[in-house]
């Protein structure tokens, strides 16, 4: 009894975002497909030859914080009934009205044997009201989770906002979920090929990670290059700022060019995930490339000493922007100016509890260590990690290794061979709530075959 699985699209969105408009478009579109829509709440959108079905809301119990075992009984029952019909459906859309988290629905198609046989999860689509989303994006967990889970995000009602507002919203959403395809729509008008049969959950078809997030998300917000003398002592001063500490790193540079800066940046990313030394005011900050966590008094600020181990160029990386703490480096009370500086996108803004954390590295991974780490990570942090995805380079393997997860459930497999022209890379993305970039990076680095 093997038949082609029927694709299932999960549609989420805040009330009034335009889900019903989108559903009606999907149903009316001349795509020649028979589509069944399953809703949490009965809607008045029945169309000829189409179906809108009522699904009663079901409570999901958390077994030790795990929702794997308790999948959506109602959904399974309804889909089972639908499959008895002669006029089988080509596509199923499940609207998760009133549910903050579409994961239980999505997971149903992974964990239930019958469902796995008959259906394949195509994508999670979230529709966002570009005009009104600002009213709840900061406070509503539901809104954040819907964005965090999405494979496709429709920024709808773009005609009601200015270009600037739209630009701000797009950037914010990209920071929360760097992997989603974001489309701007008016009246939910969008090509069906952008939302249906896109196979976002098919590892064989979609084992790619959008690399854009990697440049946008760094564990530091600022870098400045200084020329410092070995025979001088410098004072590094911080005023009181928004945080009681600041992670800081000096990396010596041989010369000031793109290549050196790029190398230093990679080193800084790695160092920021390593162990740090906590320093109180008055202590020496190392100049040799070791991470320091500087404690800054909430009222008085802090002042540290710096004695460069050699004369030359240094790149200073700071966790927060120097302006937030009025950072100054002085030599004999004379401020030293940065020769060059760079600001990085605030990938870890304080107000964003839902965000994407990307990790990229070139080393080969030890599969056993990786399995242990991913297993531990998703069981311990799975409730906060909404989605995860990775394309990985495993030691002594010719094939790429791909995996994806929804909360603590994940599937992994060997993919195609690495191409000779291709650089073997590890790319991982985690989307979720309260993610600890340093913990994730550190855990990942420990899986490298070269790591002890």
């Amino acid at each position: 009894m093997t038949t082609q699985p029927i694709p299932v699209t999960v549609l989420t969105g805040y009330l009034g975002s335009g889900k019903t408009t989108l559903l009606n478009r999907i149903l009316r579109e001349n795509h020649g497909q028979r589509i069944a829509v399953i809703e949490n709440e009965f809607g008045e959108i029945g169309i000829d030859n189409e179906l809108v079905i009522e699904a009663d809301e079901e409570i999901f119990e958390m077994n030790n914080g795990c929702i794997c075992c308790t999948v959506r009984g109602d959904l399974i029952r309804i889909l089972g009934q639908l499959m008895k019909r002669r006029d089988k459906f080509d596509h199923i859309i499940i609207e998760t009205t009133g549910m903050a988290n579409p994961a239980p629905v999505a997971q149903t198609f992974w964990v239930d044997d019958d469902m796995k046989e008959m259906f394949s999860l195509d994508a999670i689509i979230t529709i966002v009201d570009a005009k009104h989303v600002w009213q709840h994006i900061d406070d509503s967990d539901e809104c954040k989770e819907q964005i965090g889970f999405a494979d496709v995000i429709l920024l709808n009602k773009t005609d009601l906002v200015t270009e600037n507002e739209l630009d701000q919203l797009s950037k914010r959403i990209q920071r929360m979920n760097s992997q989603a395809q974001v489309h701007q729509t008016e009246n939910a008008a969008i090509g069906m090929d952008k939302i249906l049969n896109i196979r976002a959950f098919d590892l064989a078809a979609k084992a790619e990670i959008n690399p854009a997030f990697l440049t946008e998300e760094l564990p530091f917000e600022w870098m400045g290059v200084y020329y410092l003398y070995n025979d001088d002592e410098y004072t590094v001063t911080f005023d009181a700022g928004p945080d009681p500490s600041m992670d800081t790193l000096f990396i010596p540079l041989d010369k000031l060019d793109e290549e050196q800066l790029s190398k230093a940046k990679k080193k800084a990313v790695k160092q920021f995930s390593e162990a740090y030394k906590v320093l109180k005011s008055g202590k020496f900050i190392p100049s040799t490339g070791a991470l320091s966590r500087l404690l800054i008094d909430e009222k008085k600020g802090a002042s540290f000493r710096l004695h460069p181990h050699k004369t030359g160029l240094y790149a200073l990386y700071t966790q927060h922007g120097p302006d937030e703490f009025n950072l100054t480096i002085q030599q004999n009370n004379i401020p030293v100016q940065a020769i060059q500086s760079e600001e990085y996108a605030h990938g870890h803004e304080h107000d964003e509890t839902v965000e994407s954390v990307g990790i990229e590295s070139t080393g080969a991974l030890n599969l056993q260590k990786l399995n242990q780490w991913i297993g531990w990570l998703l069981s311990e942090r799975g409730t906060d990690i909404f989605r995860s995805k990775g394309v990985l380079n495993i030691a002594d393997r010719d094939e790429r290794f791909v995996f994806q997860g929804v909360h603590m459930l994940f599937e992994a497999k060997s993919d195609r061979n690495w191409k000779p022209s291709e650089k073997r890379m590890n790319q991982l993305i985690f989307i979720g709530r309260n993610l600890d970039r340093q913990e994730l990076t550190k855990g990942f680095n420990a899986c490298l075959a070269s790591s002890r």
Binding site: D56, I59, C69, I76, Q81, K84, R85, R86
Partner: protein, 341 residues
């Protein structure tokens, strides 16, 4: 095994056969398909006596054990009662839900219970609505009657409730935080068993006392079939392509190792005990059918048959001499059951 071939009757429809039921006198077979068509066959004269469209899409159909009544429910949210002698519509009710998914007659045929979304509706044999229950925690997934016909149980996510014949509030709540998919009440009235979403069977001993319920686990998939023999000695359950047999004999099977019957090659889809005898038939997704005799510690597979597609339902004739078989492709076959060697 030599296929047993004693086809008495064959009818080829187009749609998934939801259920096949015998009339009380054993002369007629009533079938319902997913497209909403009800057909009444005169099995021995090999003809269709009557057929009608009950719903646009049907979800359940049940024939009363003694009286000539059939009740059906559909995706139109309606449940209907028909007289099989006159083929007239006796009652047509609109439920407060989009779908009517279960229909079960009481053992004496005086009442039928319908699962109407998160509620159940109790009707009498005239089609009169006696009550509609209060809302359950979720959609009612299964209904079964106490063998005495004075109460029935409903299963849904969150546990099992027992209702009487007069009040719409449950007589008893038996909570269990899981999705209950299937349910059966033992013929001696001592156990209610439920197949759960996480591939276990949860038992509520009767009369129920909080904390006395127990579970049997180890299944490879969801237990959708819980079939008791008439004496409540054996409980047959599906476990992928195996049949797992628990021995009760009035006691809990806890601590016992069940029998496993591995005569099927594909996933089990139906198991039916004879009405009075100690034989049962089992069917699988590939159309395979087997006949077994179970007694004491002995189990004998004494017959086999094959349909062209997945078997969806089985029904023994009242005299246990014939077996009706329905498939997901719309085929209905009645065979004379093999005799025990």
């Amino acid at each position: 095994m030599t296929p047993y071939n004693s086809e008495l009757f064959t009818s080829l429809l187009d749609d998934y056969i939801l259920n096949v039921c015998w009339s009380g006198d054993g002369k007629h077979l009533i079938s319902g398909d997913s497209a909403g068509m009800v057909q009444v066959f005169d099995v021995f004269n090999r003809e269709v006596v009557h057929e009608w469209q009950a719903h646009d899409a049907m979800l359940c159909l049940a024939v009363s054990p003694q009286q000539s009544l059939v009740v059906s429910g559909g995706q139109d949210g309606r449940f209907k009662l028909w007289n099989l002698d006159t083929f007239s519509l006796l009652a047509d009710h609109q439920a407060n839900s989009a779908w009517v998914e279960c229909a079960v007659w009481s053992p004496n045929g005086n009442y039928a219970v319908l699962g109407t979304g998160p509620r159940v509706a109790l009707i009498d044999s005239n089609g009169k609505l006696i009550y509609q229950s209060e809302k359950h925690e979720s959609t009612v997934s299964s209904i079964c009657w106490h063998p005495n016909g004075l109460s029935f149980a409903t299963a849904c996510f969150g546990g099992v409730r027992i209702f009487g014949l007069t009040a719409s509030e449950p007589l008893q709540n038996m909570p269990w935080k899981n999705s209950m998919l299937s349910m059966s009440w033992s013929p001696d009235g001592k156990f209610i068993g439920c197949g759960t979403q996480d591939s276990r069977i949860h038992f509520f001993p009767q009369p129920y006392e909080f904390g006395q319920d127990f579970e049997m686990s180890g299944y490879q998939g969801k237990v959708k079939i819980l079939e008791w023999d008439a004496r409540a000695e054996f409980l047959l359950t599906n476990c992928w392509s195996d049949i797992v047999v628990w021995r009760f004999a009035g006691q809990s099977p806890a601590g016992q190792i069940p029998w496993t019957i591995d005569e099927h090659e594909e996933k089990i889809t139906a198991i039916r005990y004879q009405n009075q005898g100690s034989c049962f038939a089992s069917a699988d997704e590939g159309g395979g059918l087997r006949f077994f005799h179970a007694q004491a510690e002995d189990l004998l597979c004494y017959g086999a048959y094959r349909m062209r597609s997945c078997i969806s339902c089985l029904a023994w004739s009242p005299d246990d001499l014939h077996l009706a078989i329905g498939t997901t492709d719309g085929e209905i076959v009645v065979i004379r059951a093999p005799e025990l060697p």
